[in-house]
């Protein structure tokens, strides 16, 4: 790191809430999220000591369980930043305070600072897949609940080319993955097909569960966590970012190309 790194005027400190899959199948999301936050001068504390947010299933059993678990998180950590849209929604709807990582990066850290940190522009066509939990209900929306732009803005800032696609703010099928696996798989496939028709070379997700659903259930496009793209743009080596942990890894060649 050179001495000319852009510094935040005010040092930011956050409690990073990994989400359950962030401790297991989506660990590379958490690791690259922490890398990116640190690169941008944010001191992020990984809070694996905090319990589960309750998940939709606990809420379906009894909303008081969700409220109870969220109250522990709030008392112990106050506001948390999380890259998991499911946790983000659950914590807010359960009465706690949370910010979505992507929204925090764009609005709190800021696009100027992100642009200033970019060491290599990616030049690939990326489908920004929002999913639903950070957009709706309207009370917790990080952007327009149906036609958001915030993810596109972030991708442009790191030199990637965002593509538009029909399913960008639709559901990945995650909530049905255990109850109706066939229907869930079909929904995940529809998202990736739509991204492909939009001309994307890769699908970037902003939620633990969305990533799992698209990656596990499809095989026609590389699926990445948006933080992996950011970390690569910030100069980290391809091998440090956990791309190979995906079932649909992003080939290194795509990153060195010019988007053709």
């Amino acid at each position: 790191m050179s001495g000319s790194e852009p510094q935040l005027d005010v040092q930011l400190e956050v409690n990073y809430y990994p989400g359950c899959t962030g401790r297991t199948t989506e660990r590379s999301y958490v690791e690259t999220a922490l890398m990116v936050l640190r690169d941008l001068g944010v001191e992020a504390k990984l809070r694996e000591d905090l319990p589960c947010c309750g998940t939709l299933e606990a809420e379906l059993a009894d909303i008081s369980i969700q409220r109870g678990l969220v109250s522990i998180i709030s008392r112990e950590a106050g506001e948390v930043v999380t890259g998991c849209s499911g946790c983000y929604s659950n914590i807010i709807r359960g009465g706690g305070r949370a910010r979505h990582l992507l929204e925090f990066l764009v609005r709190e850290v800021g696009l100027d600072r992100i642009r200033a940190r970019v060491k290599r522009r990616l030049g690939i066509r990326v489908a920004p897949y929002y999913g639903c939990q950070a957009l709706r209900p309207a009370t917790l929306a990080i952007d327009d609940p149906e036609d958001p732009r915030i993810f596109e803005d972030l991708l442009s800032a790191i030199g990637a080319q965002p593509v538009d696609f029909d399913m960008k703010s639709k559901c990945c099928g995650g909530p049905l993955s255990l109850r109706r696996p066939d229907a869930a798989r079909e929904m995940a496939a529809r998202v990736v097909d739509s991204a492909k028709r939009g001309g994307a070379q890769v699908v970037a997700t902003m939620c633990n569960l969305c990533h799992f659903m698209l990656d596990f259930n499809t095989s026609s496009l590389p699926i990445v966590h948006f933080t992996q793209l950011m970390a690569y743009a910030f100069g980290h080596e391809y091998g440090e970012l956990g791309f190979e942990e995906s079932f649909n890894p992003l080939p290194k060649e795509l990153l060195s190309g010019d988007g053709r």
Partner: protein, 158 residues
């Protein structure tokens, strides 16, 4: 009455629904296993027991798209949650809820691999292919603070 019970749990006044169909026409899950949020709202209004007992509410994706389009400001996902809470109060958690709750009680977090195994029984051959690569995660027991885990166990009882 189901409508009152739904309102008490979710704060949603289902009587405001006049069956315009915006929810069902917005719904990605419409038609799956007979799922139709508009019809279910009507069933709640009429107090029809099968809206609880039939468990069709479990097909709701909780994507909340209908909630941002409803001209009456209603939120069907919250109605679905309330119906699910009512069912669970009558019968206890279903197989999938049990799988999640026992994970939360045991370790304070949900190990997705263990939940998938507990909830779906024997995985299909297709699941097994990719699922095998996830097997290593089944042994992750997390780092939830023991003091907080005690508290979690008071909230998520057997």
């Amino acid at each position: 009455m189901i409508a009152q019970e739904v309102k008490r749990i979710s704060g949603q006044d289902v009587e405001l629904c006049y069956q315009c169909g915006e929810c069902v026409s917005s719904c990605q899950a419409a038609g799956i296993g007979g799922f139709n949020p508009m019809a279910m709202m009507h069933m709640v209004q009429l107090g029809m027991e099968e809206v609880v007992e039939g468990r069709v509410f479990e097909t709701c994706l909780h994507c909340y798209l209908c909630s941002v389009r409803c001209p009456q400001g209603l939120s069907f996902p919250e109605v679905a949650t309330a119906l699910s809470n009512i069912w669970t109060r009558r019968h206890g958690p279903d197989r999938i809820e049990r799988a999640f709750l026992s994970q939360i009680r045991e370790k304070g977090f949900v190990n997705p691999v263990r939940v998938a195994l507990a909830a779906s029984g024997l995985p299909s051959a297709w699941m097994l292919g990719r699922g095998l690569r996830l097997a290593k995660h089944a042994f992750e027991s997390g780092r939830v603070n023991p003091r907080l885990l005690q508290e979690v166990r008071r909230i998520v009882r057997e």
